[in-house]
Amino acid sequence: MVPILSILLLTLLGGTVLTFASGKQARWVALGTSIVFLFETFYLLDAYTAWPGRAGLYAVPQYSFSESYAWISLPWLHINYTVGVDGISLILILLTAFLQIATVVYCWTETNRPAAWFGLVLLTCLGSIGVFIALDILLFFLFWEATLIPMFFMIGYWGGPKRRYAALKFFVYTHVASIVMLVALLAVAFYAHAASFDFADIFVATHSPGFPIVTQALLFLALFFGFGVKFPIVPFHTWLPDAHVEAPTGGSVLLAGLLLKLGGYGLIRWAVEVLPQGLAHTSWIVYAVAFASIVWGSVLSLSQRDLKRMVAYSSINHMGIVLLAIAVYSSLGLLAAVLLMFAHGVVSGLLFMASGSVHHSFGTRDIASLHGITPKAPVLATMIMVGSLASLGLPALISFPAEFAALLATWDRLGYWVVVPLLILVVTAGFYLWMMQRVLFGPPQNVPEKAHDLDVYETAGMAILVALIILYGVLPGFLVNVIVNSPVYGFP
Amino acid sequence: MSGLVLAQFLGLSAALLGIGLFGILTRRNFILLLIAIEVAINAAVLNFVYFAGFASGPGGVSGQAAAVVVVGLAATEVAVGLAIVLALNRQRGSINVAEASTLRQ
């Protein structure tokens, strides 16, 4: 059998190294790597056959394309290089592949140290892919941390005026969370007496009857904090707006599109799947946090003046819905969560690209001082419109099936509490529409002489995402059928 | 040899250590500082030698070996230290250690 996942990793690794080394031609290397990677992902999706089913809720999950090699083997410690995927990871790998190629194309004209820039873009994606396929605690943690470093440098070197502050804040926040997460994961392994650090062994150990509920609940909360900061959850969210405002456009795209998804993926794979009893006994905390994030994110978006800040707060709102869908703990909710993560990755990517282009072309992202940009930049205005409409959940665009499933799952578990996220949808529509009214429409004012529409690379980068938004909005079945083919489909 | 003799020997090295430490803490001149360090090190070397003498078997040999290693170490340390002194003198025209505090910034 071909070790396809390792090949996937090696493709990106090789591409990254080559990109760093290739000077002015870096963008071509990065583009080539991205295209090869995308086709490998397609191959993976094609080869991913139906998951054979599951004996019961507590049966050990099986993963496709799995590989396992001993890495560190001591009498009391077994660490392996174990990788494998299921439908959930595959969807997120697909998201990574698309975002990577869109980012590389969008940033095509980057002139400030292009080799380093494109190398860091690929490195971020490499780390994310590693997180999505790793099935060993240490390997997982390694890749998890590997995404931090390139993002730190992207914000810190290519960022805006307060980049040092933002980069440090981002780093400290997520690093503290990762430490808590690592300690909690190790504690899970040791307290449950897992045979190794492999996911399967940990799964068996935590599902054995001897593992005390209180321990599970406490460990789950620690993991929830660790992954939650990446979501981000209220009240640990303030790093996100600052990081986005200072990050360069490509960095914002990857940060919102990929890094936030790591939190969601980690929570599903390493907390909910591993400690279902922990979730069951602390679910009210998770619900409260999810509702708080949904309400807080949306309400705050309304009063933001910076386009990027607004989109950042709306990300908090959307990831809150993801958290809610995970917390209801059902296959429907899980499906909704993963679908919504994919949708949010694409849509927020588009919106951050558009914000970046607005800044580039009109010299500001301040909503209050932008007026009527449509006549000067019709294509850019269209992109903003598509992104906003998709983000507020218009049917036939990608977010709608996801939000529909998430709300249905919430209704299923929580009944009339679903009214909270439903009414917040009105607020979400409100701030996007208000933003469009001010920025896109009305008579043009304060439009600088040099203002221009998108160049061909920006258009191409965004067009990839727009195509995905419409394609998967009209035909969500493609994604759903992959997600449904996963071991966690056995949720109640 | 009796315990009394050992106590006297140890008293000598304790005195040497004390003198060395006093020098290290009070001198500001880099060369004097180096000398003080050498004195303190010699206290340790002497200890190795005494104990090697009292010990029997392979332990005694290793004590003497350690003494030789430390002497060699002290020599290299002085070499490096004097090199620093020269560099310092060339750069600042003074070998007062209190003035060489750029590390603080």
Binding site: P395, Q437, F441, G477, V480 | L25, A100
Partner: protein, 662 residues
């Protein structure tokens, strides 16, 4: 199998033709030599759609039946333990039955005529390809909505027509008022939409459970639930709190889309869009979708008694609420817009009283005469370049066709026989009257509806007299009016004909199959004659009052110091409802958001920064120890060594002793 199933399976062509138009005009319209070419492409394709739509309607009229083609699985969702145990598939497809065939006729006939009219009306405007693309997309969505075979698909297209309406209201996006009106329309209907979605969940949960876990496809959720929808009978007597709430949510959705009280504020402002858009979307089709939803739900899912009272209340109150605001308005489009809200109220009233088919009947006639009124108003605006009634006058000499067309529309709207509006409005009133015996609570709303007949005739003829009567333009600055070109006149003539005869269709034997039971009022006989006489009398009364006050003679005018004048202000300010909404949005919600932002920046992030400051002060204190002087470090080393020795030699043994001894 019905006789025309081979025809009905091509129903998907009806939305497909405009979709082709959308793609061609939307992507290649800018590259065509003349902007009108794109317009003609859209006109031809919508004509084809109309052709297929009429064929389907003829098929249904000759052989009524339900045809479904649900073949595309949109989503396969996993089940959950509590409700949807076996998982479920969301299947999309087309459903052709008499009422959807009727709606196809309404949508595509009006759609085609408006497209044709636009060729002349819009030809001065910039961005024509955008206009035709958006209009075509609207027709796609509206036809899709009509042909939906389940509530979710309905909702999907429902939102799409909403977004098309958003784009088209904001067509002149450089006008701040247009941009604001577009936002307002989307946002107000959005409130109804999310509640509608909740209603879908409720129905879904209810029927998916009682359906025995077979899931969506076999649940009562599909529109074809084994019921024969065209008999006009209410389904089931099911009543549970959940179903009542679900029904109320449907009402909320319909109220948003059909601009019923209290979600009616957006429709008058939506007149910022081109008049053609107002005629098609905000008079004939999209706003009627709310009523269509209520009709469909009452036929397939059924409303509880409480729901029906609520629907009657909303509809009945809206008739007089909107009509009263039309009394004083001087903007010709807004007057017609208020009349739309008011007439939609009649439809809602009828559906609530249990006469879905009667509501649909009024929807059908209303679509034609209201589109006619809007297009006639558009012709006037095109000629004189203003919408202000007070600046118009004397147009009847220069614009004969428009003059007559507006008159036909106004007569129909006022419910004067034999115009179309008479038959359906009379039917509504008689139907509701037949229910007040059993439901005395319906009385006030029936009275509202009767009073509105008078008001309607008054305000629409006031507009007619103001625009066309008198001896010439009251404002000399306006250009000399001339009759519209043929592309505008032709739709006016066709619609005038329809506004004359559409009411009679319910009596034509085959065609009546599309509106079973609608033509014959439930209280056929003397009572019905009395009711008709009353409503026609009220209509003529309103007409007469309008003539006295605004006709040539101006026999009677309201004095400036009349005690009624304060009411005028209230009506012009729209009962301050819009002000209240603006306050709520701008002050309450936005203020809350600002307050939350303050908390976010200074409390939450302030805590974070506080922690950061505490650490940096701690490390500042530590920094003082780092003098950089070698001797100081040496001193630290020595004192550390001494401390360690003291600990090991004295403190540790003492600790061991005291613990061991204790």
């Amino acid at each position: 199998m019905g006789a025309f199933d081979t025809l009905f399976q091509w129903a998907f062509l009806v939305p497909l033709f405009p979709l082709v138009g959308f793609v061609i005009v939307g992507f290649f319209g800018d590259r065509m030599k003349k902007a009108e070419y794109g317009g003609w492409v859209a006109v031809v394709l919508s004509g084809l759609a109309m052709f297929v739509g009429i064929l389907i309607a003829i098929g249904e009229a000759l052989s009524p039946g339900t045809y479904t083609d649900a073949s595309y699985t949109w989503l396969n969702l996993p089940g959950t333990q509590s409700v949807f145990s076996n998982g479920f598939s969301l299947v999309m497809g087309t459903l052709v039955d008499p009422i959807s065939a009727l709606m196809l006729v309404v949508v595509n006939v009006v759609g085609f005529l408006v497209m044709l009219y636009s060729i002349a009306y819009m030809h001065h405007d910039q961005g024509l390809p955008r206009y035709y693309a958006e209009l075509s997309l609207f027709l796609v969505a509206m036809n899709g909505l009509v042909l939906s075979d389940n509530l979710l698909e309905f909702f999907l297209f429902w939102e799409l027509v909403g977004v098309c309406s958003y784009f088209l209201i904001g067509f002149y996006y450089e006008k701040p008022s247009a941009a604001s009106a577009a936002k307002e329309a989307f946002l107000v209907t959005r409130v109804g939409d999310v509640l509608f979605l909740l209603g879908i969940f409720l129905y879904f949960a209810t029927y998916a459970t009682s359906g025995g876990g077979a899931g969506w496809a076999a649940s009562g959720f599909k529109f074809t639930n084994g019921n024969t929808p065209f008999l006009g009978s209410l389904v089931g007597s099911a009543s549970s709190p959940t179903l009542t709430i679900a029904g109320l949510m449907m009402l909320a959705g319909a109220a948003g889309k059909s601009a019923q009280f209290p979600l009616d504020v957006w429709l008058p402002d939506a007149m910022e869009g081109p008049t053609t858009v107002s005629a098609l979307i905000h008079a004939a089709t999209m706003v009627a979708a709310g009523v269509y939803l209520l009709v469909v739900v009452s036929l397939f899912l059924g409303f509880t008694a409480d729901d029906r009272l609520a629907i009657v209340a909303v509809g009945g109150f809206t008739t007089i609420w909107a009509a009263s605001m039309a009394l004083v308005n001087t903007d010709i489009k807004r007057v017609v817009a208020y009349s739309t809200i008011s007439q939609l109220g009649y439809m809602v009233l009828a559906v609530g009283a249990g006469f879905a088919m009667v509501g649909l009947y009024h929807l059908f006639t209303h679509a034609f005469f209201k589109a006619l009124l809007f297009l006639a108003a558009g012709s006037v605006i095109h000629a004189v370049g203003t919408q202000d009634l007070l600046k118009m006058g004397g147009l009847r000499k220069s614009m004969r066709v428009t003059w007559i067309a507006f008159f036909v529309g106004a007569m129909s709207l006022s419910g004067i026989p034999p115009f179309a509006g008479f038959w359906s409005k009379d039917d509504v009133l008689a139907s509701v009257y037949s229910q007040v015996g059993a439901h005395p609570l319906y009385w006030p709303f029936l009275l509202c509806a009767f009073a509105t007949v008078f008001l309607t005739a008054y305000y629409i003829f006031r507009a007619w007299f103001l625009a066309f009567d008198g001896d010439g333009s009251r404002d000399a600055s306006l250009p000399h009016a001339h009759e519209a070109p043929w592309a505008m006149r032709l739709p006016l003539i066709v619609l005038s004909g329809l506004a004359l005869v559409a009411g009679l269709f319910a009596f034509v034997p085959s065609f009546a199959n599309l509106l079973p039971g609608a033509g014959v009022p439930p209280t056929y006989g003397t009572t019905d004659l009395m009711l008709s006489a009353t409503s026609v009398g009220l209509g003529f009364g309103g007409l007469g009052l309008a003539y006295l006050m605004w006709g040539n003679g101006r026999v009677f005018t309201l004095p400036a110091d009349s005690p009624l004048q304060p009411f005028r202000t209230v009506l012009l300010r729209r009962y301050y409802v819009k002000d209240a909404y603006d306050w709520f949005g701008l002050k309450a919600v936005y203020g809350l958001s600002r307050a939350a932002d303050f908390v976010d920046q200074y409390v939450i992030d302030g805590t974070v920064r506080g922690i950061e400051r505490a650490f940096s002060q701690l490390s500042d204190a530590g920094r003082r120890l780092q003098t950089g002087v070698v001797s100081d470090y040496a001193a630290y080393v020595v004192s550390g060594l001494v401390g360690l020795l003291v600990f090991l030699l004295w403190i540790a043994p003492w600790l061991v002793r005291s613990v061991g001894g204790g």
